[in-house]
Amino acid sequence: MSAYNFAYLDEQTKRMIRRAILKGLAIPGYQVPFASREMPMPYGWGTGGVQVSAAVLTPEDTFKVIDQGSDDTTNAVSIRTFFERTAGVETTTTTSDASVIQTRHRIPEEPLQEGQILVYQVPIPEPLRFLEPRESETRKMHSLEEYGLMHVKLYEDISCHGHIATAYAYPVKVEGRYVMDPSPIPKFDNPKLGDMAAIQLFGAGREQRIYALPPYTEVVSLDFEDHPFEASKAEHACSLCGAEDSYLDEVIIDDAGGRMFVCSDSDYCESRQAAGHKGKDAA
């Protein structure tokens, strides 16, 4: 791959992306437009995250990629291989060993540390998009802090269903100012967004937006006093490692609808098993 620059993108492009990242860090939760490039993988498959990772990676970094919490899902494998080939950086599946973690749809269970960077792949960065399809309108709403529509939507959910009917990509408010889409993480992960020691960067390639949360930022999931936000998960323990505090995937194991629940964070589950923790179906 010597025909390409370190981490694929040319230095000018990286500089442009870094400027957008810095602006994003300076205005937490604000969506910074950036001139997203065509990447050698399709839009919608993590091009935003890949461009942000390419812009922050240095040769000394150790890189981890997860999709749905796992290092072994096909697209995580594909993105990890891409950076192995184009940047030659060391890769890992161990959360604590990674300096840059690119993720799709999850925040690792193990708390992140100072010095780590978590890069999110974002499909639709605009939290107001499904309430107002026009970009020109939603940008205006953000600048005027006009979030009434979002509260009305959440209120309507409660009046119709008794609950806020959003289970993932649950909107948050950052430092009391911008309403932000945390990417399609389950709302179980929302409490980890705030006060995190690591830098959180969000890249939306097709929509050409970058936004960011600097370390220890205040992030509040939207709710009402009488209907407080609740992080939910399947009410089980992991069948393999016995964890009761991790987000679980439901796996169908036979034709009769039998199922089991296992950690979606594969590194967390494996390291717990290695430390001797056992779930009810552990081998």
């Binding site: 040319d10 997203s36 399709p42 839009y43 919490g69 995580a76 609950h163 393999l240 296992v262 179906d281």
Partner: protein, 362 residues
């Protein structure tokens, strides 16, 4: 016993190996060469160059071969390649009036200076399958004559002399660059045209067709359609003047549209414009119609709420590489999101008493 899913890496490698084998097909059949694709599937090559935004017939042919003939996949390969190319500079604007035309027709005048030149068109062929072609593709040489010397003037200039068509004032403002700046609304006409020239042909055709059927009808005449090659010139700072660096083939379409006048504009003909790489006339005509529909605001027309009038709708959905990527990403695993939805639906059903209803039915 369930074991966490592993082996994505090997599955991917094997899938790629199988794909390569399928691409080659039956090895008893001769392999396609890049030159064969470039010469004999030239309209596919043109589409890939136009929507890939890179004029290079050999690379486009290679992309088509690699993509097994899937043109959107080929366009994607070209786009991903072009974005890595260093940019040495910008050419001076090409002069389509100096085009060496292979084809030049006007639907608004029977004859005109420069003449009507049909060129290599399907227009008057009878669409009958030519079974002879299945056996023997050799063709007799087509009759030839010398090109008419001199520039070929634009039809719209004739109308302009009478003041019947809106002015298109000369403007030297450098156009914005869609590939270097994020697309932001409102988009001026230069930016809209830039997005449309690389837009998906099918999407543009559908939108243009919708204007003809009444969704923001602007009754377009093809004032002129021309296809041919134009020289590309670049100013070289060390030389202090422009030199020719190559040639590109372009299709240009100027439509003349009916216009009854508005509060701000007198009754006159108005313009729609299409300019696309290669011989791509369906796309160029579609582009001109959509361009005209998008100009409702500057001409003081009513917004009738038609899709083709809505710049955000058109520009944000016209790029087939963005569209296909996002559409197909729903093949990726979503089980984390799905799990959280499962929990929610179960909870809502529990509370709505749906579970009991089902139990009673059982």
């Amino acid at each position: 016993m369930y074991v966490a899913v592993k082996g994505g890496e090997r599955a991917i490698e094997n899938a790629h190996a199988w794909l390569a084998e399928e691409r080659r097909g039956d090895t008893d059949i001769a392999e396609l060469s890049i030159a064969q694709i470039r010469e004999q599937l030239s309209l596919a090559v043109n589409r890939v160059m136009a929507e890939g935004s890179l004029f290079d017939p050999d690379l486009a042919a290679l992309a088509i071969k690699q993509a097994r003939g899937d043109l959107i996949e080929a366009i994607f390969l070209i786009r991903a390649y072009r974005t890595t190319l260093p940019r040495f500079g910008t050419s001076t604007p090409v002069d389509t009036g100096a085009m060496a035309c292979d084809r030049r027709i006007s639907a608004t005048f029977k004859d005109l200076p420069g003449g009507q030149v049909l060129g290599p068109t399907f227009d008057y062929t009878h669409r009958l399958l030519d079974f002879k072609l299945a056996a023997d593709g050799e063709v007799p040489e087509a009759p030839a004559r010398d090109a008419v010397p001199g520039d070929v003037p634009h039809v719209t200039d004739f109308l302009n002399r009478e003041g019947l068509i809106e002015e298109a004032p000369h403007d030297d403002t450098p156009p914005p660059d869609l590939t270097r700046e994020p697309l932001e609304m409102p988009a001026d006409r230069a930016l809209r045209l830039q997005a449309l020239t690389r837009a998906d042909e099918g999407f543009t055709l559908g939108l243009a067709y919708s204007t003809q059927r009444g969704y923001a009808r602007n009754h377009a005449f093809v004032g002129e359609l021309r296809i041919g090659s134009v020289p590309v010139e670049m100013e070289i700072p060390e030389l202090g003047f422009a030199i020719e660096v190559g040639e590109v083939v372009l299709t240009e379409c100027e439509t003349v549209n009916q216009f009854k006048g508005s509060k701000t504009e007198p009754p006159q003909f108005t313009r729609g414009y299409g300019l696309v790489f290669g011989q791509t006339e369906r796309k160029a005509i579609s582009m001109a119609l959509v361009d005209r529909a998008l100009r409702w605001e500057e001409l003081g027309e009513d917004n009738v709420g038609a899709p083709a009038q809505d710049a955000e709708f058109v520009l944000y959905h016209a790029d087939n590489i963005q569209a296909t990527g996002f559409l197909e990403h729903i093949k990726l695993p979503h089980y984390v999101d799905f799990q959280s939805e499962l929990e929610l639906v179960r909870k809502l059903r529990r509370e709505a008493g749906a579970d009991q209803v089902q139990e009673a039915a059982e």
